[in-house]
Symmetry: C2
Subunit: 414 residues, 2 copies
Amino acid sequence: MKVNKERLKQDFDNIARFGKLDNGGVTRLAFSEEDLKARQYLLDVMKSLNLKVSIDAFGNIRGRREGQFDLPPVMIGSHLDTVPNGGHYDGVIGVIGALEVIRVLNENNIVTKRPIEVINFSCEESSRFRAGTLGSKVMVGKFTKDKLKTSIDKDGISLYDALKQAGYDPDRLEDARINNGDIYAFMEMHIEQGPVLEQEKYQVGIVTAIAAPTRFKVLIEGRADHSGNTPMNMRKDALTGASALILGVEQIAKSEAGERTVGTVGYVYVEPGAMNVVPGKVELGIDIRDINSTDKKVAVKKVIDLIHKIQKQRNLEIKYEILADEEPVVLSNKIISCLENEAKKYGFSYKLMPSGAGHDAMYMTNVTNVGMIFIPSINGVSHNIAEFSRMEDIKMGTDLLLKATIKLAQEECE
Amino acid sequence: MKVNKERLKQDFDNIARFGKLDNGGVTRLAFSEEDLKARQYLLDVMKSLNLKVSIDAFGNIRGRREGQFDLPPVMIGSHLDTVPNGGHYDGVIGVIGALEVIRVLNENNIVTKRPIEVINFSCEESSRFRAGTLGSKVMVGKFTKDKLKTSIDKDGISLYDALKQAGYDPDRLEDARINNGDIYAFMEMHIEQGPVLEQEKYQVGIVTAIAAPTRFKVLIEGRADHSGNTPMNMRKDALTGASALILGVEQIAKSEAGERTVGTVGYVYVEPGAMNVVPGKVELGIDIRDINSTDKKVAVKKVIDLIHKIQKQRNLEIKYEILADEEPVVLSNKIISCLENEAKKYGFSYKLMPSGAGHDAMYMTNVTNVGMIFIPSINGVSHNIAEFSRMEDIKMGTDLLLKATIKLAQEECE
């Protein structure tokens, strides 16, 4: 009993068409026309697989395969929306893998004790409304109705209106809430979005914990001066101050906090930003992550100390705002063990590893036991046309997802 | 015989209206409607002062006050165009100062041996067509007809079309050329655009040399990776590489080249530029200046060495392009002495100083003896609504310009 690579490939190719760009990439923003087409495809497939479909007020799509008993289900899935100009694997493989699990169960006439549900979470990517993993957040009560009208995309469309236009029911958002115990277990298969599995030659990753970011917005104010007429010792250059901070964040993450701490400055805006003007203002974003809460706190503290030091040394005004400061979450030991046992049994080489990226799986830990499977990302690239995972790796991951889903649905992982 | 501050103020206020913004700043881009209005004002004043007006093919406006003899004239002036959202002093004070010199000569019925010409150079600011000091470059043959159609503003209008629309004659650009000997001397009064005169409490600056920039465009290519899932030791972060370069440029200019060397990174573009992505590409601009050619070469060499070092250390691809590498120019000793003598005679405290910024005066050195007067810039600010110079300082500078113009026109500076 194995998954069928051809069928996976077929689903993959079918979904890849929705929002495909001339450069080969894809833009399938949450609730866009392309996303709605992909959702319709998913609904059609679910129906063809005899799943009982339900769609909640936020558009989260669930397809249920009944079990022997009317118990809380094992849920598997991910998301179909993408970033702008993104790749074809992020999110998608978790949904097509879940569909393939159902197909194998159907063709083998397996009846599991517990129901199994396939889920497509709405709006996992933060690109459109500047906030992501919204489907799972809504389900666990971490994103509420009051934010629907204030979440606005770049064209001025609110999340509320986007939901209405898509035919969902934002006025009844609270109906999408689920409670502790409603779901027996949740598993998400996803691309790694990092280079570790490929570089260390593992076939699959079993995720142990999800590192939540602490994010800073930093505003550095110096004085814009003429680049030719301002002697070096009379400058207040916001960009040299920013550079000291950027190198400091790298240094702190590399060797002054935890072994797994990562620290990134991903964007910098310079004002006025002209060749012949000493920069007067800089805004930059800092993203610090760790699965160890203590190590992350150490790194964050050192970054703040460094900001104060640079401010003083360089006579700049530096303000910072902490945009997010979430706690890392640990995934279910029961599911991790179950995945390990199955991987060993079938001879898949696996690595127990953290996820540095956030996923819907993170929020699902609020209401159920959660596991995640990582598929190697070639060159570690994601959110990009160069994003690529091998179909044989996706097949292997789906086989692991299948085995573990059966074990959980049969209550054989206790 | 002194200049009249009220008349200066009147001209200043009149010109400040053309392109004035709600925030108090001004946008008077080269050959724009606002610039053309300011030019018309200048023409009207020139005519009211009985100057003989001529306009060349590039729109450079000259107003001539005849002398006793038909000899090459003493030319004084600057420019009326501004950067977007700029201030009211840059360029303007050199033109209104020159008009006031004529007024004083007229009201005192002074006939000089040599003619005196007031000039407004076209398109001094590089904001509109990405190339500046074009009026003087055209006059000395450093900007030629072949570039008129390829110099395009942000709305897609070529310099050729802008000239046509303004009523000038781009097809006969070469007619604007002047030759060595056509002009006896040129003097430009300008704001300092730096903080030195104010901080060191001088009333006026006498410019000894103009530092020409060496400008680099640098492209750093690393690899865009997920900020959460890419361990620090597996990254190729283009922005940390850029930061090392930015701090290196500062260090080289501060203490590893000449005493007067300045080095600036004025802009940085980061790709993809998202909070949660390790930057894959960075473009930045480096501007190195010195009035000492040897010191500048040392600095440029060190910057290039540093680029190679960072490329190797951080496993990045770094390409650079030298956009400009001009030679610093030394101004006329004869005129510097003349200005010094007059300043001493009238008790103005002056500083002999370089200009870090380029000016039309720089190109005029190709065909004649050149001098420059700097007026203190409060807080060193320019190209900005905060640009400010005190009217009493402008008056004092204009008095110095008047005295030196008379000396030169009377051939008493030999």
